[in-house]
Symmetry: C2
């Protein structure tokens, strides 16, 4: 791998920053940023806003114009070599006379990884890959999860007291965390292609699961609402059915779904009636639909089940500065974890105050090597 200079790093950092502007709008596409530099001057910048819109490279090239000739392009992801909704970026870079392309990472699709760089090489463009690849990979972790393992990234959000309680035993739980933490959850939702919950939560709380913060640039789209509801108990009066955006109800067997469908929901059957839904199948279906990131906002049953099945990639825990004591409900119901050895190790990736609350972001270390 090439040795990169400080200036290379600075330009790639900027490209990553540009890429992140697409965090609420680019999905199902990856976020991509591009910076074009000639004689140490930035002559063009671009990022990918939404599917169907031009790619980051095209936006940056159009800013750079004639200056792209002989320049270096920093891109956070290997440029595409295929015709998708837009023409291939590789050809545009070659046509513009770009001399050197530095990509943070290869295309994660195994079948196409390296093809874009190879075509650039063949056209005499110097290529390098790997600069700041960890940051690039973590930016598009959901996209990478979908295309490499056929399941979205699963992020479980929990709001709890400092002693780990999410509600009293009598289910009292309103406003455990503060307004700033709730706004932060809006940003988590806007980053997600889908929000998943269980029918228990719908029946108890009638949640909206939508993006309400106007300043989040989602292009007006709402994440898909996914309800795990094996016996199809979803009420026709559920608030989410009246809101903009789609609702997918995951059920089993052949319940009569006509009334729910008339109310605007899609009902999809996973396996025979009376059996628990295999959430892995739900996640595979969501990946087929182009969902990169699933945010789980559910009760201890669904969240615990996902942990037990090792289907959780990331936890985002908001801890309120309160002690709620013992007459409470815990975060995760995990009846199969009977010994200390069953506990799941986390890697804390971020820790910060959000208003009066704390937010802990942690990756789950997966069991075995399948992921």
């Amino acid at each position: 791998m090439a040795a990169f200079s400080d200036s290379d790093c600075a330009h790639m950092a900027r490209a990553l920053q540009l890429a992140a502007r697409g965090q609420y709008s680019a999905h199902p596409n990856p976020m991509v940023g591009c910076v074009i530099v000639k004689n140490e001057d930035v002559v063009g910048e671009g990022w990918h806003e939404a599917a169907g819109n031009p790619h980051a490279e095209i936006n940056a090239l159009s800013k750079a114009g004639e200056d792209a000739h002989g320049a270096t392009a920093y891109v956070t992801l290997e440029p595409c070599a295929h015709h998708g909704k837009t023409p291939p970026c590789v050809q545009a870079l070659i046509d513009a006379g770009v001399a050197r392309v530095i990509a943070a990472m290869k295309d994660p699709y195994a079948e196409v990884a390296g093809r874009g760089l190879e075509q650039l090489d063949n056209a005499g463009v110097v290529t390098e890959v790997g600069l700041m690849h960890s940051a690039a990979e973590s930016l598009n972790a959901g996209f990478i999860a979908r295309v490499t393992r056929g399941r979205p990234l699963v992020r479980v959000k929990v709001a709890a007291s400092l002693d780990g309680a999410i509600a009293m035993k009598n289910r009292e739980s309103q406003w455990i965390t503060g307004a700033k933490a709730r706004d932060d959850v809006q940003r988590l939702r806007a980053r997600s292609g889908a929000i998943m919950t269980g029918i228990g939560t719908v029946l108890a709380d009638d949640p909206s699961l939508n993006v309400r913060l106007k300043e989040l640039a989602t292009g007006g789209r709402q994440p898909l609402r996914v309800v795990l509801d094996s016996s199809l108990r979803m009420p026709l009066a559920a608030g989410m059915l009246t809101l903009p955006g789609a609702t997918l109800i995951c059920s089993t067997g052949n319940h009569d779904a006509s009334a729910l469908e008339a109310a605007g929901a899609e009902v999809y059957s996973f396996g025979p009636d009376g059996e628990t839904i295999d959430v892995r199948e739900v996640l595979e279906e969501l990946a087929r639909r182009g969902i990169n990131d699933v945010l789980v906002e559910a009760g201890p049953g669904v969240a615990g089940y996902l942990l037990e099945k090792d289907l959780v990639d990331e936890l985002v825990i908001y801890q309120a500065p309160h002690i709620m004591g013992s007459e409470t409900m815990g975060m995760f119901s995990t009846p199969s974890w009977m010994a200390l050895a069953d506990r799941r190790a986390l890697e804390i990736t971020d820790l910060r105050r959000i208003g009066d609350d704390m937010r802990i972001t942690a990756r789950i270390r997966h069991q075995g090597t399948s992921d």
Copy 2:
């Protein structure tokens, strides 16, 4: 109150830093630091190491020598005006010709507060008080609690998983937190005049509750070990009875304590047999014995009881980066807290990583206004 200059602040910050050197050895005395400054040069520094040793002012004056004449003394606590184990510092400051004394806070003893400053005033020394008083008060929070309310500061330490579990239901709990967190607990112990636990923890875990880290400058002293043991079930074979330092067993009624006393323990009876010990009385007894800070290292029963009785001043929670799930024991058993309104609000005063774990330090907001 006087306006203090940046240079005043810098000197007082240094005095507070010096005071903190006594954190493992000064108790039952307060930690005190002193900086003597003449024409902007520091001419003497001192701190109080241990009861019976010279006070901070005396140590600083002896460094300053002749230079103390006309100088300013920065002290973290009002200088003493009375003969204790050592002669009064006020007289020494006057005799040395100090021109100005700036104290961070008054003596917390209501009867003597202001007397030292008054005597200095009367001798023509300029006095000012209040510079960095919050830092000075929090440094000696335990000492202040003891002398103003007749009870030590009560600090409850908990080691838990990120979802609030301290052990599995089968009591498995070894090494929830890592080695650095355990070393940090050694520092908490060394700062404390007493470590309190319940007989349940003694019977289950046979804890040592001693200071083992050699680099902590405790002057060889060990905190008093306090066991809440209403029915006097303390085993003669308990490991702590064989260790340097004293053990106080708090019981009720008139159990035969002769064997335990022969094994080196003190047994003290609080109230009639068969009743629960009123921990408030235990704390008052500890205050009479000069204990400023009590560290509670106990199970959910004792810790929860103290929370329910509003006897906890500070929580120190070590959170390990693990999820332990639902088949576990929580931090606090609080059977009387049945509604969300019963939860206790915290003020997070410190949040940091300790090795792989997180440490959260929080003050408890006391109910009502009695404290």
